[in-house]
């Protein structure tokens, strides 16, 4: 009926089978123990929500409205006590080594109760993802050790990512735009390191973080060719915090301004620069974009998980209201229109979840989760005692050869099609889920009337919090363009993106 060659041809014709059916491809390859692990993670998140998040979420939001200068160290300390800042750090670096996909499920749970608190935990992993994108094993070991020590000593050590600048938001997330943008954060090569000058804004968890992964540029006329990724510690001379933004929502999670004035960053804290990238198989410019794709493919799925939480939180509040409130002498839940509206909201949050799960599958098959999700690797790391792993790998991590090997595997080992597939799906999940999150908040308000407007009924807070999800990690407009660029344009050579 059909030959092997025909099968191959037909499945490689757009829309390609490999682009479409990620879950189908991924499910049989998943280690069985991952399911048990994810069940455990969700249960932990629910317990944490019950004990910590729900009792404090509204109070923290109110406190921040009253005193915008407040920093939620109390919550961060609690999350640190529960071990959440090391939970998804690999065991070889001293963490608990939970699989990366399980982080999304965790985030949905926490996000369903409070997005600001989800961000206080989740953004730390955005910092870690940016750290790991450079595959500089020595620095990864050092920073992860700080986080692990912070947990043991009960002095939380968080990591942030500093990329957005006052004149450049979208421009720093897309190499095609970088050279034309108004980028000003300059990393000047000096003896023994870089001298950093410039300002970063809207840095989530900035004031609370001990380490900051700062993206700067050695030549401001050619940022795309000269990206430098640096690890900067709070307290480094020449680095200071500026204002803390007054945001509409996610008030519990600070958005900070980071100011660098002749801040010297030594070579041992340079994660990667153009010289090091020149060793990859792709040109520097493409490698810089690959790193952006590499990080955002995972973190945008994370934002989608937050959004699924928001969509679910709004649904749960609307459902509770409908089941307790009589409208025209009948419980609202027994009005047919309300039942259909609740079904629509349920659908919205279920679709949000499916979008991040599918994106995670893409990352597991072709992206940043790939190595650790392969069954032999997964079980090796899972079953080997952490102490042994650290002993075995600790000194190896210090060797430059390890950095070279990992970079070769991770960067050069990823094909162009895999980069585009993972990034495109990250964008799809991000804008689909975040739009649905906002949609559910508005639907909840339409159902709840004046009850929905009150902070003590939660929905208004979810709406305020959720709006940020459509903006950070690239606006939803940028993500639509990225999806087009990654999943549609490759088959149309005449299509030109970001060059209207």
């Amino acid at each position: 009926m059909i030959s092997r060659r025909e099968i191959k041809t037909h499945l490689n014709t757009p829309p390609r089978f490999d682009d479409m059916f990620l879950s189908l491809m991924a499910a049989p390859r998943l280690p069985k123990a991952m399911v048990k692990e994810i069940r455990r993670v969700v249960a932990i998140a629910r317990k944490f929500n019950h004990s910590v998040v729900r009792p404090y979420a509204l109070e923290l939001d109110r406190k921040m409205q009253e005193n915008p200068g407040f920093l939620p160290w109390d919550f961060v300390e609690k999350a640190n006590e529960w071990g959440f800042y090391t939970m998804w750090i690999p065991k070889i670096f001293g963490g608990k080594g939970y699989s990366m996909p399980s982080l999304s499920y965790f985030m949905e749970e926490i996000g369903s109760a409070c997005l600001a608190m989800a961000n206080l935990i989740g953004v730390h992993y955005l910092g870690l993802a940016s750290l790991s994108a450079a595959w500089n094993m020595k620095i990864m070991k050092r920073l992860c050790a700080d986080v692990v020590d912070g947990e043991a000593s009960r002095t939380p050590c968080l990591i942030s990512l500093a990329i957005t600048e006052p004149g450049a938001g979208t421009d720093v997330e897309e190499i095609e735009l970088a050279d034309r943008g108004n980028i000003t954060c300059h990393a000047e090569r000096v003896a023994g390191g870089y001298k950093l000058n410039g300002t970063k804004i809207f840095i989530s968890n900035g004031h609370l973080s001990k380490w900051h992964i700062v993206i700067a540029y050695a030549d401001l006329k050619k940022p795309s060719e000269t990206t430098v990724s640096l690890a900067v510690k709070t307290g480094t001379p020449g680095f200071s915090f500026g204002r803390k933004e007054r945001k509409m929502g996610q008030k519990g999670c600070p958005a900070s301004e980071l100011i660098f004035k002749d801040c010297f960053v030594p070579d041992e804290l340079v994660l990667i620069d153009a010289d090091q990238m020149s060793g990859f198989k792709r040109p520097v410019r493409e490698s810089a974009m690959q790193m952006i794709h590499y990080v955002t493919a995972g973190t945008r799925a994370g934002v989608a998980a937050f959004a699924a939480g928001a969509a679910r939180g709004a649904f749960e509040e609307a459902l509770a209201f409908a089941s307790q409130t009589r409208v025209e002498d009948k419980l609202l839940i027994n009005h047919e229109w309300a039942q259909c509206l609740l079904a629509e909201m349920y659908k919205n949050y279920a679709l949000s979840r499916l979008s991040y799960i599918e994106s995670n599958y893409a990352n597991g098959l072709y992206g940043s989760f790939r190595e650790l999700q392969k069954k032999p690797m997964y079980y090796y790391y899972k079953l080997t005692p952490a102490g042994w792993l650290r002993k075995m790998f600790s000194s190896l991590m210090e060797k430059p050869a390890m950095t070279r090997i990992y970079r070769k595997m991770q960067m050069d080992g990823q094909t162009d099609a895999e980069i585009l597939r993972t990034s495109g799906w990250g964008s799809l999940a991000k804008f689909a889920a975040t739009d649905l999150g906002i949609k559910n908040c508005h639907l909840a308000l339409e159902m709840m009337g004046q009850a929905g407007l009150r902070q003590d009924r939660r929905v208004e807070k979810i709406l305020r919090d959720a709006k940020l999800l459509q903006i950070y990690e690239g606006t939803n407009q940028l993500n639509r363009l990225n999806l087009f660029n990654c999943l549609i344009a490759p088959d149309y050579p005449q299509a030109v993106v970001f060059d209207e």
């Binding site: 943008g181 009589r326 025209e328 229109w337 339409e446 709840m448 004046q450 902070q455 305020r464 709006k467």
Partner: protein, 371 residues
């Protein structure tokens, strides 16, 4: 809003637009801090002195005797800059309209000594008592009625002298309205309720215990009076939403003309043009719809009521979508308090719930057509 050729209306249009720019815009972020910042008493009194609060009150009662179009023009202009004052004017006007519908004009006449705060009438303007049963019961006593129970989200309850309260009279069907003095010792007020939007149009929860009150109109007439008020005031809420839309569009348009991305003004990227065009279209449609519906209402043309309700439903929903885009076009800064966009996003969602549950308003709309 289109003020047309009516000279007085054009004057009101200019005066309110100027007031909004001078009095509301400069302190918008500060005023929005309430209840964690001071209340804008001076602005409120200034607006009162300009007669924004008694526009639709008949001249015999000391008002200006204007129609709904005048109120809408004012609300539209004010809400472009800050919808909180609009919310206060709306709530007071809603109370007045209920009293007028009930033939209780005598309870309304303002005096020369009145200030905004002494003349304001608090009202649960986000609730339709016909939908969610009032939790206050009225008992007859020798001098009139005593009210006991609780009212959630009584708008202006913390600052007004009087309140219009919906209550069920024991043993009678339906509900009735009662006017009561908020300084009565039987009334307990909560702290201002922290709300999504309209922060400077504050509300409180109150509990009442044997509070003296005056019955407004007939026993059990509440639903009739509320609906008569709502027919007109749906347009006022729509005008507020339209003003918010216009403000959001203007801010986004100006920002896109100034801000660059990828070396070009944002406004020159065609997707941004598309979003701006969608916003501009919705603003124009809202302006035309409300203007025409107001004309129809003031002339009492046949079928003006469904026009008013349709305008409300469409414009308020459009405002929620538009203000979402209004933030999006500004990116991160749109989410911050430094610009008015985040406030407009919150205010639009709040205004959609004026006069009751948004979805129930749709049901009522079609039910009215079925009759």
């Amino acid at each position: 809003m289109i003020p047309g050729q009516d000279k007085e209306l054009r004057l009101l249009d200019r005066a309110s637009a100027e007031f909004a720019k001078k009095e509301l815009r400069p302190a918008r972020e500060e005023n929005d801090k309430y209840p964690f910042g001071p209340f804008f008493d001076a602005v409120l009194e200034k607006a009162y002195s300009l007669d924004f609060f008694n526009l639709m009150l008949p001249e015999a009662q000391g008002g200006m005797g204007r129609g709904i179009q005048s109120l809408c023009v004012i609300l539209y202009n004010l809400c472009q800059e800050d919808a909180s004052l609009g919310g206060i004017i709306f709530t007071h006007a809603a109370s007045q309209q209920v009293l007028l519908s009930a033939g209780a004009e005598s309870l309304l006449k303002p005096t020369a000594a009145d200030t905004a705060k002494t003349s304001l009438i608090a009202f649960p303007s986000f609730n339709n008592p016909g939908e969610v049963e009032p939790a206050v019961t009225a008992y007859k006593n020798s001098g009139g009625h005593l009210l006991s129970g609780s009212v959630e989200y009584l708008v202006l309850g913390g600052i007004a002298a009087k309140a219009l309260i919906p209550a069920r009279i024991e043993g009678k069907p339906g509900y009735s309205f009662f006017l009561t003095d908020l300084s009565h010792p039987g009334i307990q007020k909560s702290q201002p309720v922290l709300s999504l939007g309209l922060h400077a149009c504050p509300a409180v929860d109150i509990t009442l215990q044997k509070v003296n009150a005056t019955l407004v109109g007939a026993e059990g007439g509440g639903d009739r009076y509320f609906n008569a008020m709502a027919d007109q005031m749906h347009l006022a809420a729509a005008a507020m939403a339209a003003g918010i839309m216009k403000g959001s569009f203007k801010e986004a348009f100006d920002y896109c003309k100034a801000r660059e991305q990828g070396g070009r003004k944002i406004i020159n990227w065609s997707e941004m043009k598309m979003i701006l065009a969608d916003m501009a279209l919705r603003v124009k449609c809202a302006e035309m719809m409300i203007s025409r519906a107001c004309l129809s209402a003031d002339r009492r043309e046949k079928g003006w009521e469904p026009c008013a309700r349709a305008a409300n439903l469409w414009v308020c929903a459009a405002a929620c979508g538009l203000t979402t885009d209004g933030i999006q076009l500004l990116g991160g800064v749109g989410y911050m308090k430094d610009f008015g966009q985040e406030k407009r996003f919150r205010d639009a969602a709040q205004v959609q719930s004026l006069l009751g549950i948004a979805r129930m308003k749709k049901i009522k709309f079609i039910e009215a057509m079925m009759r």
